[in-house]
């Protein structure tokens, strides 16, 4: 009880509250600017956290994350351009409502559904994460290895585009994590005689390059300027009676988002589309979906915001990030002395409870800050795109340069940015690359420890315990399913779209 009270005290400290307000407000704005999104938002704000305490810095980043997921819905409703892919499904009913002159109502539903989904997923996180961590204490090296392989295969299996491309990106991520000194023998690997490379590569410069810098290159090559006219809009939150009529849609969307968010590799965009598809089958007003029906906005926004809380379940309890955003959050946690994984709930319980409270406050802050933020978009869209892009270049450089003060990290970010641009143009998914880099060290050390225990016998590794056998069996099934479905996908693609120009 003392720990919980102390954790609440940490979360309600004025520095943490200020960080929540600034982070959430900035997240809403960044999320609303098409093409930027959560990862760029975190890239911009990460350098600010280096001088902050652990809870304050995490409060800022969680604010940016949750705010950006909600912010994407504002431009989806106002100009039919989702600020983030997570809000793409919101355009189906949000923009028709704007065209019908019901923009205030649409924004109100998006805000309330986002708040509801976010809070419900926090509650689920609070109950599920400690239980999962308790169960995961039974995991030894071999079980951890099996779990990481399974998570990686899930991420590769649901990657956008080709599974093979996802797999090769995952391998690139694993490889990047292996540059530098070997953690067990201390031998240099892939340093090619360079002293600066022997300290290895860190996650943040790779993420900065892969997402922020490559985004600038993509925007530059497409010259996509979202110079749209924003309609006059004010927020009108639904009245109690109105949301009570649609409570089933709110709960269903939030539960779908919470479930999908806890699975590795899926993310908020998938949650929003699955929730929308479910609403098309189950909503009592399904015949009006797509023509400006609030149930469509509720389905999309409650589920994509529910992902923000539940995606922390595998991250905090197992140390396995579900997507790029949580991988980056995990990197930031490590920088600030939080080590996600099975021991976290035991060793840093107060910090974990503080994060839970912070997540709830962030959702309340999002509800309060939504009104002043919406008015700002009219002015932001008049700003020249060059200023935004130049600022992102600077923040990317600052983020990469300040992680550990090694100038090599800037070069790594620049090279990764150029490579990531090429990969994006050829439809390679980047999420497996980043998550491979996060999971690489644990994958390697758990495999090598496991082989030491089993005296190098790979077969004994597979049959070590009931849990490991179950996990390896699931992995085998997943591999078979992935190969099967990708062959079917490839054949269908060959029939319908036989070639690229």
């Amino acid at each position: 009880m003392d720990i919980i009270l102390a954790a609440v005290g940490d979360a309600f400290a004025w520095q943490a509250l200020l960080a929540i307000v600034v982070g959430t407000w900035a997240g809403i704005i960044i999320g609303g600017l098409p093409g930027l999104g959560s990862v760029v938002g975190l890239t911009i704000f990460l350098p600010f956290t280096f001088g902050m305490s652990t809870i304050t810095s995490m409060a800022l980043l969680i604010g940016v994350y949750c705010g950006s997921v909600y912010g994407g819905s504002i431009t989806a409703i106002l100009i039919n351009t989702p600020g983030t892919p997570q809000s793409a499904a919101t355009t189906f009913d949000g923009y028709p409502m704007t065209q019908q002159g019901r923009v205030d109502e649409a924004l109100g539903w998006a805000t309330f559904a986002s708040f509801f989904g976010g809070v419900l997923s926090c509650v689920i996180l609070i109950f599920c994460a400690p239980q999962l961590a308790k169960f995961a204490v039974n995991f030894g090296s071999i079980e951890v290895f099996a779990l990481i392989c399974l998570a990686m295969m899930c991420i590769v299996g649901v990657s956008k585009g080709s599974v093979m491309k996802g797999l090769v990106c995952g391998m690139i991520g694993f490889f990047l994590s292996m540059v530098g000194s070997d953690p067990i023998t201390g031998a240099d690997r892939f340093t090619f005689g360079s002293y600066t490379l022997s300290s290895g590569l860190t996650l943040i410069p790779v993420v900065v390059g892969a997402f922020a810098l490559s985004e600038i290159f993509v925007r530059f090559s497409s010259r996509d300027d979202p110079g749209a006219k924003i309609p006059e809009a004010r927020l009108r939150l639904p009245k109690l009676g109105e949301w009570f009529k649609r409570w089933i849609e709110l709960v269903r969307g939030s539960l779908i988002g919470s479930f999908i968010g806890a699975l590795p590799g899926t993310g908020a965009a998938a949650a929003a589309f699955i929730s929308y598809a479910t609403a098309q089958k189950m909503s009592p007003r399904r015949d009006r979906l797509g023509q400006g029906e609030p149930d469509g906005i509720i389905a999309s926004e409650s589920s994509n915001n529910a992902v923000t809380g539940s995606s922390f379940i595998p991250t905090l309890a197992l140390g396995i990030p579900g997507d790029v955003v949580t991988a980056m959050m995990m990197g930031a946690m490590v920088i600030h002395g939080i080590t996600p994984g099975v021991r976290l709930m035991v060793d840093q319980a107060q910090t974990v409870y503080s994060l839970f409270v912070v997540l709830i406050i962030v959702n309340v802050a999002m509800l309060i800050l939504s009104k002043p933020s919406i008015g700002l978009f009219r002015y932001l869209f008049r700003l020249h795109q060059g200023y935004v892009m130049a600022a992102i270049v600077m923040f990317s450089f600052i983020g990469a340069a300040t992680v550990r003060g090694n100038p090599l990290d800037l070069v790594v970010a620049a090279v990764t940015g150029i490579l990531a641009y090429a990969l994006r143009r050829a439809d390679y998914p980047l999420a497996p690359l980043v998550i491979g880099m996060v999971l690489g060290p644990e994958l390697e050390s758990s495999l090598r420890r496991g082989l030491l225990i089993k005296r190098g016998d790979f077969f004994e590794l597979l049959t070590h315990s009931g849990i490991s056998m179950a996990l390896f069996s699931l992995l085998a099934l997943l591999i078979v399913w992935t190969v099967w479905s990708s062959i079917a996908q490839w054949r269908a693609a060959a029939r319908n779209q036989p070639s690229y120009d």
Partner: protein
């Protein structure tokens, strides 16, 4: 066939395959303990990249092209600035990069460009280096610039 090989998708897949092979050779010639996992990873990388190359080769028709325009200029500037930070310090390396970025994004009027460069590059450098005391790489050993 040669035309197909010149397609950017094929070139990228081939590049990944060759890189994987070179790194895999390096891993197989290194110490077996430290290189155990890299050997597995890089062999898998090479195999999958070869399969991607073959699939891309079977799919592409013409030489194809990605609209690059002046993108290599921006990419080169980012890379040069990143390398220059170590010797010139953060401020001197980032000022021309920000100015060039603004210009490439079609902000050609001198006053907004100069002000934008000063505020974005100079302002952010001052904020982090001198106000927040989050130190950035410097030219002078005193740390002022």
């Amino acid at each position: 066939m040669v035309a197909r090989l010149a397609h950017p998708r094929v070139l990228l897949a081939l590049g990944l395959f060759l890189l994987g092979v070179v790194l895999a050779f390096h891993a197989w010639s290194g110490p077996s303990d430290a290189m155990l996992v890299p050997r597995i990873v890089l062999t898998l990388w090479s195999g999958v990249a070869l399969a991607i190359t073959l699939v891309e080769l079977s799919r592409v028709t013409g030489t194809g092209s990605w609209p690059l325009s002046t993108l290599p200029v921006l990419m080169g500037a980012v890379l040069i600035a990143a390398i220059a930070v170590a010797s010139l310090g953060f401020l001197l390396a980032s000022l021309p990069l920000v100015a060039l970025t603004l210009w490439l994004f079609r902000l050609h009027r001198p006053l907004p460009m100069a002000l934008g460069t000063l505020v974005i590059a100079g302002g952010l450098w001052f904020l982090f280096h001198h106000v927040l005391l989050i130190r950035l790489p410097t030219l002078l050993t005193s740390g002022a610039l």
